[in-house]
């Protein structure tokens, strides 16, 4: 039966994360963007919310909560509203934990999951994108070949969050020709010979979070470290889970910019009235509000389909594209409404515009 009302539990999680974003993330967001580093205390406090350990089974020391893409989307929107770079840092461990949880072998679950039930933030991550134009799972250039009970990985990856400090990196590589069905995941521990972490990347936005290019040169790992063992994983589904997370993050970034521009337009006066009383401004804000809600509903619908076990490729792709476009237009509109002030780094809207531009590019940076 159709409902647009989150359950009480979902609402509680949403409110908690929203309060965290308002009280802990927002005060440090500009500083993180300028200095390129996020205060440890914020990351540590986020860890205590159980956003990563919550879904790990009780038997392995976790919270035993049912994992839900819808709840994941609610959380991602609130964190994205706080700050995109910090949100991606907080959520990065999920990039390895969730695929292991859903598709890993029993041994992989036992080996990896208990590490995340402790009191301290543990960095792990995944490597999806590659340093070339576009993102094409069918022509992934990082390859894996099987050799004497091992897999040998070769290739380069980029936009790998926290790669330098991560205990392990879930590297996606192509096993044969074809689309997502021929992509496998490999759990590569830090320090494995042949895994090189290159220099920290510099981006237009996302300046707070460390991301790296990594290079794999004849990097050998035991066959048992292939995600899901010989059964493999469903990379298509993982990508869709990532698309929904990115869509929800984009909604959060857009909403932040919309709220800021709305409040600014109500107090900034021109020609004797607040500029919000001019239709040129008011209509732009109205369109922003409509498109943000539209994006959120598309993200929720795709998340809901994933929770029902559907592949949801169409819904996830469309939701991500739509939300990425919306975030870009809304943040650009917010800069426009603030005018010259919007271009100045005293206000956050220019940062949100830089961050929002990335959504059309990002794949696999967060997961629900």
């Amino acid at each position: 039966m159709v409902s647009f009302q989150p359950s009480e539990e979902e609402q509680m999680v949403r409110d908690t994360v929203a309060a965290f974003a308002r009280e802990q993330i927002r005060p440090v967001t500009r500083e993180a963007d300028e200095t390129g580093s996020i205060p440890d205390s914020v990351i540590q406090q986020s860890w205590e919310l159980g956003l990563v350990a919550g879904a790990i089974p009780e038997a392995l020391g976790g919270g035993g909560d049912a994992r839900s893409a819808v709840t994941g989307a609610l959380i991602a929107e609130e964190l994205g509203w706080g700050d995109l770079a910090i949100a991606l840092h907080i959520l990065a461990p999920r990039l390895l934990v969730y695929p292991v949880l859903e598709m890993g072998t029993e041994e992989q679950k036992k080996e990896f999951l208990p590490r995340f039930t402790g009191p301290r933030f543990r960095a792990v991550t995944a490597a999806v994108m590659e340093p070339r134009f576009g993102f094409d799972p069918a022509e992934m250039t990082t390859t894996a070949r099987r050799e004497n009970g091992h897999y040998v990985l070769n290739g380069a990856k980029c936009y790998v969050p926290l790669a330098r400090t991560a205990d392990a990196i879930l590297v996606y590589a192509r096993l044969g020709n074809g689309g997502c069905e021929n992509v496998a995941g490999f759990l590569v521990p830090q320090g494995t010979p042949g895994l090189h972490i290159a220099e920290r990347e510099k981006h237009m936005g996302l300046k707070g979070i460390e991301t790296y290019e990594i290079v794999l040169e004849e990097c050998r790992i035991p066959a048992s470290q292939r995600l899901g063992g010989d059964r493999g994983c469903n990379f298509g589904r993982i990508l869709n889970q990532c698309r929904v997370a990115l869509a929800a993050l984009a909604v959060g970034v857009g909403r932040a910019a919309f709220e800021y521009a709305r409040d600014y337009a109500k107090q900034r006066r021109a020609f004797g009235v607040p500029i919000a009383q001019k239709q040129a401004i008011a209509f732009l804000l109205a369109e922003m509000a409509i498109e943000i809600d539209a994006s959120r509903l598309l993200a929720w619908e795709a998340a809901w389909k994933l929770d029902r076990g559907e592949e949801a490729t169409r819904e996830a792709v469309l939701a991500k594209q739509y939300a990425a476009n919306t975030a870009l237009r809304v943040t650009d509109g917010a800069v426009q409404i603030l005018g010259g002030h919007g271009y100045i780094r005293d206000h956050p809207v220019e940062m949100w515009l830089r961050n929002a531009r990335g959504f059309a590019v990002f794949e696999g940076l967060a997961i629900v």
């Binding site: 039966m1 159709v2 409902s3 647009f4 009302q5 989150p6 359950s7 979902e10 819808v70 134009f133 576009g134 993102f135 094409d136 799972p137 069918a138 990508l239 709305r262 337009a265 109500k266 919000a276 009383q277 239709q279 008011a282 209509f283 804000l285 109205a286 369109e287 509000a289 409509i290 809600d293 539209a294 994006s295 509903l297 598309l298 929720w300 619908e301 809901w304 389909k305 490729t313 169409r314 792709v317 469309l318 939701a319 594209q321 739509y322």
Partner: protein, 407 residues
């Protein structure tokens, strides 16, 4: 719990109405577009019998008299109207029922008035209920209405001209229906002085002087009604005759739009879906599949366009369902109703225009229905509050401005 699954009841109704749309509407859609002004009486009679016999609301938009907790009525209406409009938007608009006039009676009338005016829609020959607001010199600015109602003993006397009255001639000349006329009882009172009056069919002093020729929805009857010393009983005034100091009464009347805007949005989406489905089928027949998730450098322009059309349409649909669902929950949905209407009107205008472009010579040809859908779609960006009026309402809500602060 967030959920997008339609209940089995709604799915059953949707499937039934879809069958009607496919079998009774699509086959005559082109014919009544070309023969603008002619009435498909066989279709009217079929729909009339269906609406009397079936518990399914086939486009009445009739409101429940009493509110008794959450229901699914508005969502059901949105879903079924999408199907009817998928069949044909012009024909859907002219289905005999209480329509917008009935919605106004239900929203502003007393229980006695509801019985007196709405009982007729469950018996006898096909009938229509119409609503007359727009005047030659006022459209979106409904507060500027100049049609007057003056009390004379036991009667109200109406004078003025109303245009763009959907089903106007069907309601008052070609059936035993009625029209709800918005007129001012006190021009100095502005909005507060504007009241709804029920004028019965064939009332002396009322005449249909013109029916419009239009860009689209040509099967729909759009009439000019002239009132010259038209006398109606005192108790045909819906609600109170008192001119309050506040505009609460008028606002109450405008609240009708909170229920009808999602309906218009749903009908817009029906047209957009028809165009989208047709385009997808045509592309598939030509061996072109939409590759969701393929990288940018491999996608064709048509695939990108198509995905954008599809996402826009689904966004509009979800906004519409939300507005209808809120109504069903008894939540105030003024903001969300305008959001979905603004989005749906624009989305289907763009979707149908793009579909004509993609289909090329076939899209432009009157041999197919696509060009008609493009013409039909545009009305949704205009009636029941233009795109701009709905943006204005959204803007006022999000900025917390009154209609005086944001004009």
């Amino acid at each position: 719990m967030i959920d997008f699954e339609l209940s089995p009841e709604i799915q059953r109704s949707r499937d039934l109405v879809h069958m009607v749309a496919e079998q009774a509407m699509r086959p005559i859609a082109r014919e009544y577009d070309e023969k603008e002004g002619e009435k498909p009486w066989d279709f009217f009679r079929v729909m009339w019998e269906l609406s009397k016999a079936s518990p399914v609301d086939v486009g009445g938009g009739e409101q429940q008299g009493e509110k008794s907790g959450p229901s699914e009525r508005n969502l059901l209406t949105a879903v079924t109207i999408e199907e009817l409009s998928w069949g044909d938007a012009g024909l859907y608009l002219s289905i005999p029922n209480a329509g917008l006039g009935g919605a106004a009676v239900a929203a502003t009338g007393t229980p006695e008035q509801e019985r007196r005016f709405l009982a007729r829609f469950r018996e006898g020959e096909p009938k229509w209920g119409a609503m007359a607001i727009t005047e030659p010199a006022c459209g979106s600015d409904t507060a500027a209405i100049t049609t007057t109602a003056v009390r004379d003993g036991d009667h109200w006397v109406l004078n003025g001209t109303k245009i763009f009255c959907t089903n106007g001639s069907l309601a008052v000349e070609k059936s035993e229906g009625f029209v709800v006329v918005w007129a001012t009882v006190d021009r100095s009172a502005g909005r507060a002085g504007i009241k709804p009056f029920v004028v019965d069919h064939h009332t002396p002093g009322m005449s249909v002087t013109h029916t419009e020729k239009k860009l689209g929805i040509r099967a729909s009857d759009t009439a000019t009604l002239v009132f010259e010393d038209c006398r109606i009983p005192l108790d045909n005034l819906l609600g109170s005759a008192e001119v309050e100091k506040t505009t609460e009464g008028f606002k109450g009347a405008m609240a009708t739009f909170d229920a009808t805007r999602p309906i218009v949005a749903a009908s817009a989406i029906g047209i957009g879906r028809a165009a989208l489905e047709f385009t997808r089928d045509a592309l598939e027949k030509a061996g072109i599949q939409i590759r969701y998730g393929a990288p940018l450098h491999k996608l064709t322009a048509v695939e990108r366009d198509f995905m954008e059309m599809e996402a826009n349409l689904q966004a509009a649909r979800l906004l519409t369902w939300r507005a209808a669902w809120m109504m069903d929950q008894g939540m105030r949905n003024n903001l969300e109703a305008s959001m979905c209407k603004a989005k749906a009107g624009l989305a289907v205008t763009q979707v149908t225009q793009k579909a004509v472009e993609i289909l090329g010579p076939l899209g432009y040809s009157r041999k197919l229905l696509l060009e008609k859908w493009m013409r039909d779609a545009k009305i949704n960006d205009i009636f029941e509050g233009t795109q701009q009026i709905n943006l204005l309402i959204v803007a006022r809500r999000i900025l917390d401005y009154t209609s005086k602060e944001l004009t």
